[in-house]
Symmetry: C2
Subunit: 363 residues, 2 copies
């Protein structure tokens, strides 16, 4: 723990900048989460932004986090209720300073359990979007019968056009490669049916653009709501309104199943005995669908990794958000997005050239 920026082995001195003051249980949960994550990412350096006196008094209780973190004092903090416009004016908040560290290249990414609206607004203005991306999206991993599935946008953009959806597909593919380690992720576009004529113009146009793009081989076509948990594709692309509702509806349904299951096991002595017999398997099942394991939504499409943890996250789920951010930084999600965008624009340019040639030949 030193106040001098020691250059790390990576391109940025710090892998991550962490907002120690964001979320319902800050800074305790943040530090406890870092303590858990430290084991899984040895040698990583983290810049910790927040109330220096408070952090210096608490950090010694988390020795592995302490050995990974450098504290930098942030005089103020953004509350969960603060409007984005007010948050933008507060230049010395822990969240702002963490985002600044990404903008200056001092850190590869930022993690906060704080105010999402403020985080997205600050990130867009301070870090800015990647060239070729018109709007960042919120992406996260969801459970399915066949393994993890990336879904985006989860609420950053209420209304999206076909171009946005194509960009989300590019970002989702890069996310699945970097965070899930899939070599060639399959991409689905969420719709009310799988037939080509289903949905609105915007979806049909996006599907056509994807079929004609460098992503064509990985584009599966339209998928439906039940395909998310079936794991039909590795990436599910949708607008932020639908994605937010699908995410919460799925989580709600799993919560209902676990509530009903609890009731079943608590009925009488025999069912309690039954519970004891299946407990190890149930715990694996719970872990499989545990929303805590899936904590950490990434705002993709920015010039740096921006990860939002649930405000009410516990230590384990905050650690999951740290994991996602570290995977995204170390596996170069943004380089993957850039490469794909270059291919797509080269592809479209070729396509246009071909079409131009074809039409001139027709004349």
């Amino acid at each position: 723990m030193s106040d001098v920026n020691a250059a790390a082995s990576g391109p940025a001195p710090f892998c991550l900048a962490v907002d120690a003051m964001g979320g319902d249980h800050a800074p305790d949960i943040v530090l406890a989460g870092l303590e858990l994550a430290a084991d899984r990412h040895p040698g990583t350096r983290v810049l910790l932004l927040g109330d220096e006196a408070l952090l210096r008094s608490q950090l010694p209780r988390y020795p592995r986090a302490a050995s990974m973190c450098e504290i930098r004092h942030a005089p103020s903090a953004i509350s969960m209720e603060m409007k984005p416009t007010a948050a933008l004016r507060l230049r010395d908040s822990s969240l702002r300073m963490a985002i600044d560290a990404v903008a200056t290249g001092e850190a590869g990414g930022v993690v906060s359990a704080g105010n999402s609206g403020a985080m997205l607004a600050l990130a867009k203005i301070v870090i800015k979007t990647l060239p070729g991306i018109s709007r960042p999206a919120m992406a996260a991993v969801n459970p399915s019968a066949r393994g993890d599935v990336v879904m985006l946008d989860l609420g950053a953009n209420i209304a999206c056009d076909s171009r946005n959806l194509v960009e989300f597909a590019v970002m989702g593919e890069a996310f699945a490669k970097a965070v899930l380690g899939l070599p060639s992720p399959r991409i689905g576009l969420l719709n009310v049916g799988v037939e080509e004529l289903k949905g609105d113009e915007r979806l049909r146009e996006a599907a056509e653009m994807l079929r004609d793009s460098a992503l064509s081989e990985q584009f599966h076509g339209f998928v439906e709501g039940h395909d998310i948990t079936a794991g039909t594709t590795d990436v599910v692309v949708t607008d932020g309104f639908t994605g937010n509702i699908a995410l919460k509806t799925g989580e709600g349904a799993l919560k209902l199943a676990s509530l009903l299951l609890r009731r079943v096991f608590r009925t009488n002595f025999l069912t309690k005995l039954g519970y004891l017999l299946v407990r190890p398997g149930l715990e694996r099942m719970r872990e499989w669908i545990d929303p805590r394991r899936y904590n950490g939504a990434v705002f993709v499409g920015l010039n740096g990794i921006v990860v939002k943890s649930h405000g009410g996250a516990d230590a384990e789920s905050f650690a999951a958000a740290i994991d996602v951010a570290m995977d995204a930084v170390t596996h170069g999600i943004n380089e993957k997005i850039r490469t794909r965008l270059d291919q797509i624009s080269a592809f479209s340019a070729n396509g246009e050239e071909e079409r131009a040639t074809a039409s001139s030949m027709a004349i």
Copy 2:
């Protein structure tokens, strides 16, 4: 079983007209479903449309269905793949003749497990929408932690404006009263957050209209995806795109839970023993969330009850669709919609008068 229309006690000679030829397993499943439903609705009369020779040969195997049904010959049938435009031209199909029976007042409602697109198109043109309703919606019952929840629109209208959403709220309330028997159903508008400023203009406008309407006391405000299965409100209103995706995402998540649970119980001898101990409770749980129990989506807002069963329905789930249709007919869902629409227009007229008075007073 007679070829002469015997007048029943209700306003229409037949409670329902049933398309015997629709669905993947017609007519067997249709007849088996009617057999199950007959027990629960003694004395009800059903008009059965389809291939007369085939039905006359099969029906005797279902004695209770036979005593309830009158067969009427329909020379043709609409396949699952037929486009709505082609279906409209086929005037002697079993589905068309069943819908005609509703239009002429011979039957209170129609049930089919056939082609949904053809069904909606035929119903709109032949039966027509209720006065004051601009677009029919697809409504169905879903499981929640607190009991059954009505959700609509489930896919009849991909794009909706605020006026459509308000009409859906009126129809959803009538559905919850007639089918679920709730005296004063609570209504929620599906959104990405519960705060007044969340979502798009269309949603904020619909919320404002509902707050100012005769439904204001029952209007809970915005609800989120997880509120559907939490049972926060009795009715969840949304556009057909979002509703279709939320419905299928929730079903998919419950399917994932039951798949994982099966794996847990099948692990070894002890877990199999555990399964035997909790089986009765698990069966109750399965029944609680069983999609078959929730089969039967109603196209509400038409001059008659139009119920669509899943194409792949089994006998039990087809019987559930019959139940929904009979409840909707016998408890007068359309009268409830009419009454509420009258109140709303009277209410708006009063409101405008008040506002006019208020503004003239200000001058």
